[in-house]
Amino acid sequence: MSDATSNTATANKVRRVDGPAVEVAGLRKVFRVSGGAGGRRHRDFVAVEGASFSLEQGHSLGIVGESGSGKTTIARMLVGIEKASGGTMNVAGRDRSAAAKSTSERRRRGSEMQIVFQDPYTSLDPRQSINGCINEVLKLHLTMTEPERRQRIIELLDQVGLTERQGLVLPKNLSGGQRQRVAIARALAAEPAVLVLDEAVSALDVSIQAQIINLLNDIRERTNMAYIFISHNLAVVRQVTDQTLVLKKGVVVEQGDTEKILDAPEDDYTKLLLASVPEPGWKPRRVNVD
């Protein structure tokens, strides 16, 4: 594997990994939901059924599907917010199939994989300045002196297109697009091997969405970071990923190269998803999805 290029002024750091950045096999999640009004009877709801994929450093995997398809559940299991019911997960060469047993293990997992959420309005602490929020991550995951951290914050802000001045303000003083840049800068601060983006551009206006998509593509090119890009928007998945996995009700119906899946889909559900996207010449049709 070639070294991450560092031809820009800011050093772009990423954890180096031998082998695949992410390897998932037979991943499964079962939620227990109350069955009736009495609350005594329970039934099992299978949110994810046997998902397997492998993602190399520097590549980007799209996970697409509609609401209830299990795409966010996969992300939540990977970062450890949700416990897997079965299967194995390996990130940056280390197993994380079971919950972390110690604080240091949890912290190590955090430095291997970071996540950016959909809503930039609720994913930042409203009382913490932008610098403070990034500083906290640097303190937690890296050993740096105070001046080093200050320098690194400026680099990170610059990398996502924010100015030093904007680092001093509170999230409320920034627009939605700028907040999402902060969330990305915060995730990059931990120098993870893998970045999980859960509908990270879905809530943004079209003109801002284009800026963030370009930013994400730039960062991946410069740092060789791996992305897991969760989205319902196939056009965005086309721009940001090279592999795609299509989920329907927790089951993987198709996976492979993004281009192949979007240009020549084999599964009927993938075809339906593609046919439902409004584009020039598109006419809304009554469909019956079950």
Partner: protein, 335 residues
């Protein structure tokens, strides 16, 4: 000829933090009988406020100037009772989030028949019959059982169909739809839009459709009005808009969309962020983000002009040759 809806030089100011802020500036647009007009724009552009103004649903202390006329009659001097009657019979709104706009403690049947029983003095049983028929038309099976259910027992897509049925039930001449499918999955969106457009067309109802999605608007609108910072910057047909946009903002918006069928090495982005009306500089509201900006753009507000059947607000519209796709030109990405 009288228009079904005529919005004429409408400006709206709203109070935030005890100060008046402009949200709409000199908005003029018409909707004809059975016509679909879409208002397209980014957040803060004023598209929702335009629709809300038509129904007088502005927040308290909102100030409106200009004129709104329905079927040739000005609505500006209406009393609150007139407005109520207008909303109950002539024009009705479909909101983005059905869960926030349908009372959760009332059964679906009560929600659907309320307007008919109260405003039309219809017999309750007859109203329920009608509601059941319409639920089936909007694609809900087992309608009679649904009428007895509560909103929480229905999915978002189902509930939005209920919302559409409730609007169709009062047989308005004009439907205002504010991002009605934004919260839905794509396959559900296709279905709901198809149903809405079919049933509306059969009944010859007009629609003012609000969306941020240009492609969706293009799929079934007769005309599209593009809004930016409280102004309408361009009004055109979908075909015209996509082949020959006249306003630099429209063109930039079209180019910055990620394409489903091809990967763009770098999306042409619009620098900066969308502005609200009160933040707009004097002169053209788009000048700070416009690649074609000249001195005159900062000096005077461009007035609407008619070019090849489209209306556009840009000083340079007649000289610029804009394109709508990223591949069609080279160095158009402006940082």
């Amino acid at each position: 000829m009288t228009h079904l809806l005529e919005i004429d030089h409408l400006s709206v100011d709203l109070v935030t933090h005890r100060r008046y802020h402009k949200v709409l500036q000199d908005v003029s647009v018409t909707v004809e009988k059975a016509e679909v007009v879409s208002l397209v724009g980014e957040s803060g552009s004023g598209k929702s406020m335009t629709a809300r103004s038509v129904l007088n649903l502005l927040p308290a202390q909102g100030k409106m100037s200009g004129n709104i006329a329905f079927d040739g009659q000005s609505l500006m001097d209406s009393t609150s009772k007139d407005w109520q009657k207008f909303r109950a019979t002539k024009a009705a709104m479909i909101f983005q989030d059905p869960r926030a706009s349908i009372n959760p403690v009332h059964r679906i049947g009560d929600f659907l028949t309320e307007a008919l029983v109260h405003n039309r003095d219809m017999d309750r049983h007859e109203a329920l019959e009608r509601a059941a028929t319409l639920l089936e038309q909007v694609g809900i099976d087992d309608a009679r059982r649904r009428l007895r259910q509560y909103p929480h027992e229905l999915s978002g897509g189902m509930l939005q169909r209920v919302m559409i049925a409730s609007v169709l039930l009062i047989e308005p001449q004009l439907i205002l739809a504010d991002e009605p499918t934004t919260a839905l999955d794509v396959t559900t969106q296709a279905d709901v839009i198809a149903i809405l457009d079919d049933l509306r067309a059969q009944r010859e109802m007009a629609m003012l459709f609000i969306t941020h999605d240009l492609e969706l608007a293009a799929a079934f609108s007769d005309r599209i009005a593009v809004m930016y910072a409280g102004y309408i910057v361009e009004v055109s047909t979908p075909a015209q808009l996509h082949t020959r946009p006249l306003h630099p903002y429209t063109a930039a918006l079209l180019r910055s969309r990620p394409m489903l069928h091809e990967r763009t090495a770098r999306l042409p982005q619009i620098s900066g962020r969308p502005l609200s009306a009160f933040e707009a500089p004097p002169g053209c509201p788009f000048q700070d983000r416009c690649p074609y900006v000249q001195a005159q753009c900062g000096e005077s507000l461009p007035q609407p002009q008619l070019i090849g059947g489209s209306i556009v607000r840009c000083h340079r519209a007649s000289e610029l040759e804009l394109v709508s796709t990223a591949g069609a030109e080279g160095g158009q990405s402006h940082e």
